[in-house]
Point group: C2
Chain length 388, copies 2
């Protein structure tokens, strides 16, 4: 983030705002060469943010006339915007990090979501910018291949005492091959997020559509639950450590998996059941997976190695190489731009190698604690699942 | 809206903000009697907005310290908030309209979404408050009955030259009775909205789950598309009148319906195909439905009678009573608090009655141009569909 170059647009843009509006570049220090395009995350009705093929991003926001200081906050940096004669505030940022970038506008100290962009939920709704990653996007964008459906599936949880929903991806041939049964990947989101983020932000459905179409991954069902669950008796309590996941674990094992095995054509055994997740979901995978080795045969931890990994791994470390019979796949991935997670992953790798425990490790070059890392993780992890 | 009573909370609330926070009522002109509950639209991590069993709503918002004037905007009214000693701004509103109310916060002129509440998409993301409607909610809230799935279904549209998604509700027995085929209701959202709003905001899936469980409606598939569609050749053009729906109509008839009939176990004939929508979706139903009488047998117009209804009805008016053979159901509904729509519906009713054309008319008491009206419309309309 520190390496971003900032270019403030000169303050003489004179165009109005309409659905068909293009930027008037009269008086701009940066000329509109006709190559600026709406970001894929920009709304149908909005024209900004825009992306230039050279990688620059152009933000524009209409603040009240009385506004004094308007900024874009992205990553850990505030970028000052400059007001044009039309009352719009503008800033162009060069070399933003690729992928799925959270940002917001700050108007005299008040945080505002940019009304021109898509949002995702992480402890509140946040604006997001999809920054192109040339040469890489084909794996997570929709292609002209058969598409699986993602189903919103509702159930009543006795554990939490509430109606809950999960999202269930069924592969493209699911409704055609009605005699066929499928393995299941349980896939969890990160802290503060909702259960739709693996498809909405992570594009898990397109990643699997594309892998399946190329014969690179087995057709599988993916089940995405909300990882926050509390029992009515825990209401208002501050939980710590693995106690935070206890109700979720109970719900997953006793309610979700049986519901999925009843409702969908699964292969309902350990060999055909995987658990993975990002960040908090990775930590849950680590804890719940190792605690339920009779239920899951494949585990994937994306940017989620917890600080107490050696303690949680005790069950494996104590057994040494004989532990390898208990899992078909133990998989870790993290990005080079998320120091604590990639460092812990490397420490853990040293420990497991030394202990003779098999696992696979993936390093996502140049990406941080965001969905570009996790899209890549899923794209690497899914082909290794349920392979004979 | 004009009749709402406003009570500003006294400015001496001293509590902090934490997930387990309850309001400290010391110094308040309104006492916390322990009966305030989070609204069903309030986030897991937030405590406000809260609802009192007597109907009052309590909004709270943390503005920057420098903020001078903070308001809640709901309906057509700004409600002044008062700052407490903890830096939170508060207002209690008595007798808000029931149902699904859009609102936002205004901080010194800057519109902000309340981070404590759910949002819906209507020409941008908007905060929404679910105001209880005692005695009525059972029909649209989830009950202990079998639930259908709502599927996110992707397809490539040659008409628009883009990948698009639709949402497809399949009834609770769809995956069990794999030999059974179902009728289909095509159901459209309003202007500025997205294709998920009929389930997210309208709770169409729960309404059908509940009707089907009670034997009040036939099990049916519901298909929800984005009603905005333009051909690549129309890019940047300002379209008017029915030309606005031409690309959507072409996509619906030539691509969507065939895709649905290929992908799901439908009964692919006119007798088992309905079209309905709210507001803009009602106007689309009016135009596209009357233009495709060989495709649809049931039409539902919710708060959507257009100004040029008599012109659009010419095909029916010219035929008189013999037109009745062409449709099994022509249905209109609107709320008493949305003057132009309910008035046009009444004018149209007079015209149709005079012309001997059969239709049904529903009036939603006390509700305006929002989802409480449309939930009621769907609840009245769906039982009349596909009845022998």
């Amino acid at each position: 983030m520190k390496h971003l170059l900032i270019v403030i647009l000169a303050a003489f843009i004179t165009c109005g705002f309409s659905p068909a509006q293009n930027a008037n570049t009269a008086g701009l220090s940066i000329k509109d060469d006709g190559k600026w395009q709406k970001a894929s995350s920009t709304h149908r009705l909005a024209q900004f943010p825009k992306i230039h093929p050279d990688g620059r991003v152009w933000f524009r926001y209409k603040a009240p006339e009385t506004a004094q200081i308007v900024k874009v906050h992205m990553g850990t940096t505030d970028y000052a915007m400059a007001k044009d004669t039309g009352g719009y505030w503008n800033v162009v940022i060069s070399n933003p990090p690729i992928g799925y970038q959270v940002y917001w506008i700050i108007v005299d100290g008040t945080e505002v979501q940019d009304p021109g962009t898509d949002i995702y939920y992480s402890n509140g709704y946040r604006g997001v910018l999809e920054v192109p990653s040339p040469g890489e996007e084909a794996f997570y964008n929709p292609q002209n291949v058969p598409h699986g459906d993602t189903r919103e599936h509702w159930f009543y949880s006795e554990v939490t005492g509430s109606f809950r929903r999960m999202f269930v991806y069924t592969p493209p041939d699911y409704d055609k091959n009605t005699g066929k049964r499928y393995p299941v990947l349980y896939l969890q989101h990160g802290a503060g997020e909702l259960e739709m983020e693996w498809t909405h932000s992570g594009k898990a459905n397109f990643i699997l559509d594309n892998l399946i179409a190329q014969g690179k991954a087995q057709p599988m069902i993916i089940v995405m639950n909300n990882g926050f669950a509390t029992k009515p008796s825990q209401e208002g309590q501050q939980l710590a450590g693995n106690a935070r996941w206890a109700a979720f674990e109970e719900m997953l094992i006793k309610e979700v998996i049986p519901d999925i095995d009843r409702s969908y054509r699964t292969i309902p055994d350990k060999e055909h059941r995987a658990l993975a997740g990002l960040s908090m979901g990775g930590m849950q995978t680590f804890s719940i997976g190792l605690n339920n080795l009779e239920t899951f045969s494949h585990l994937g931890v994306f940017s989620g190695v917890p600080t107490n990994y050696s303690e949680l791994l005790k069950v494996a470390l104590d057994k040494g190489p004989s532990f390898n019979k208990q899992l078909k796949l133990l998989w870790f991935g993290a990005g080079t731009a998320e120091a604590s997670f990639i460092n812990r992953q490397k420490e853990l790798q040293d420990l497991l190698v030394k202990s003779g425990i098999n696992a696979k490790y993936f390093v996502s070059e140049g990406t941080g604690h965001e969905f570009q890392t996790w899209r890549r993780c899923l794209n690497q992890f899914a082909p290794l699942l349920f392979v004979q």
